[in-house]
Symmetry: C2
Subunit: 257 residues, 2 copies
């Protein structure tokens, strides 16, 4: 940990440009090597990891703020963002991050009182194509990296709770909306799609039930090609029928009341 | 409209006790006479209706703020509240409500600059038992009343958008969570339950499909009694099996992946 470098933040400028008390935090999911990954930052000041986040400009919507933060951390311009909850526990601030403690830790900051106020944070989650992300740390962090969901233990402040709530929301969403576009490559096999669902749900699924149900939604196109080089029987490749996929995002999947 | 009465709000006190820029707005649904109703307030100052709302105390969570607002407007202490979205368009404030315009309209307010700032509002929706609510206007309003969803046209600021988003969220929720407890009397018939679903979804449902699906969730108990005094065949009465209902709220209804 580098505790001596001054960080290049002008808090007077932040105060004049941003709303007080309000932040955004983003849970960015990617899928790689059959693992669900989340994008995290390692603090320069304390031995903790956090979610990418930022403040809200005085004339910005919270969506614009989150989009700006994600552009800075991932390099991606167009990201599907889902606002899912505002976290407002007055005790959510982390004493370790308080300006006075950062000062004690030798961090040179000027006019940083702003950072010590109470923040309520709007949580967003995003599903991105792993290979397209170029992770960039912010001024408070030494690195920005993908971590497997199963490797994540504690996080800074209430970020673990924000991550868990994002996962919970995504799991509920699996019940009525399609998922996978942006997380999978363009062409994939049925076992790969099933693995994505199993990873998000955190449990194994029955192969035949999964295939029957996912095909019943009519959002997939089976391609004439098969995946070659696989041990035994070569599996078919699928891709999403984007028109039907996008319609299902709007209408929901199981609208058969 | 009474435009001359001074309103009893101490804005200096509000400023010292509440967070700037942040409010809560509540969409309170009730079911009565086979109609979905929403609780609205009629402004004292402009010819518009609005949702019940309020500000967030400096040491309150947004949930506590919404609970306090709803206790004041409905008299109900324990309300199932669902935080569903934060509305942050910088242009969402209504010029008609701006302090300078209220002053022009003859309203006596002191230190009301606070009210003219930008507000981001956290939307909540609540499902309540119609008959238990005792609607009470706030200091900005002349009345607080139930309105049928179909009667509501425009609302103050972006409150129509907040109402629509609450309805949309509740419709999606119908796909994976049970609904009806708090909205229906303790005992009800299958046609009454179906009517509730139809009202929320805004369309008619097939009687047999509805019955088959709702019974498959095993959240209902059929009672030995039947509803008497109905024209032809007396329908059975049902009530929710609360233990299973509450479990389904947590687990979701169609978890058969």
């Amino acid at each position: 940990m580098s505790k001596t470098k001054p960080i290049g933040v002008n808090f007077e400028e932040l105060e004049s440009q941003c709303l007080p008390h309000l932040s955004v935090d983003c849970v960015v999911f990617g899928f790689h090597d059959n693992q669900l990954k989340v994008l995290l930052l390692k603090s320069k000041f304390i031995d903790e990891w956090s979610l990418p986040g930022g403040f809200v400009g005085k004339t910005e919507t919270v969506e614009e703020a989150a989009t700006r933060v994600l552009k800075e951390r991932t390099g991606l311009g167009e990201i599907f963002l889902n606002q899912f909850h505002i976290f407002s526990d007055p005790k959510r601030s982390n004493p370790g991050l308080k300006p006075e403690n950062m000062k004690k830790a030798g961090v040179k900051l000027t006019n940083y009182e702003w950072l010590g106020q109470r923040f309520l944070s709007v949580g967003f989650y995003a599903l991105v194509e792993f290979s397209k992300v170029d992770p960039q740390p912010d001024v408070f962090s030494q690195t920005c990296e993908w971590k497997g969901i199963d490797e994540v233990e504690t996080l800074m402040m209430d970020h673990r709770q924000i991550l868990d709530k994002a996962l919970e929301t995504m799991r509920l969403q699996l019940r009525y909306q399609p998922i996978g576009y942006n997380l999978l490559p363009e062409k994939y096999t049925m076992p790969e799609l099933q693995k994505l669902y199993e990873t998000i749900l955190g449990r194994e699924l029955d192969r035949r039930n999964f295939q029957r149900k996912i095909l019943s939604y009519k959002i997939l196109k089976r391609l004439p090609e098969r995946r070659l080089g696989v041990a035994h029987k070569a599996p078919y490749l699928y891709r999403f029928d984007l028109e039907k996929y996008n319609q299902a995002l709007l209408d929901g999947l199981s609208g058969d009341w």
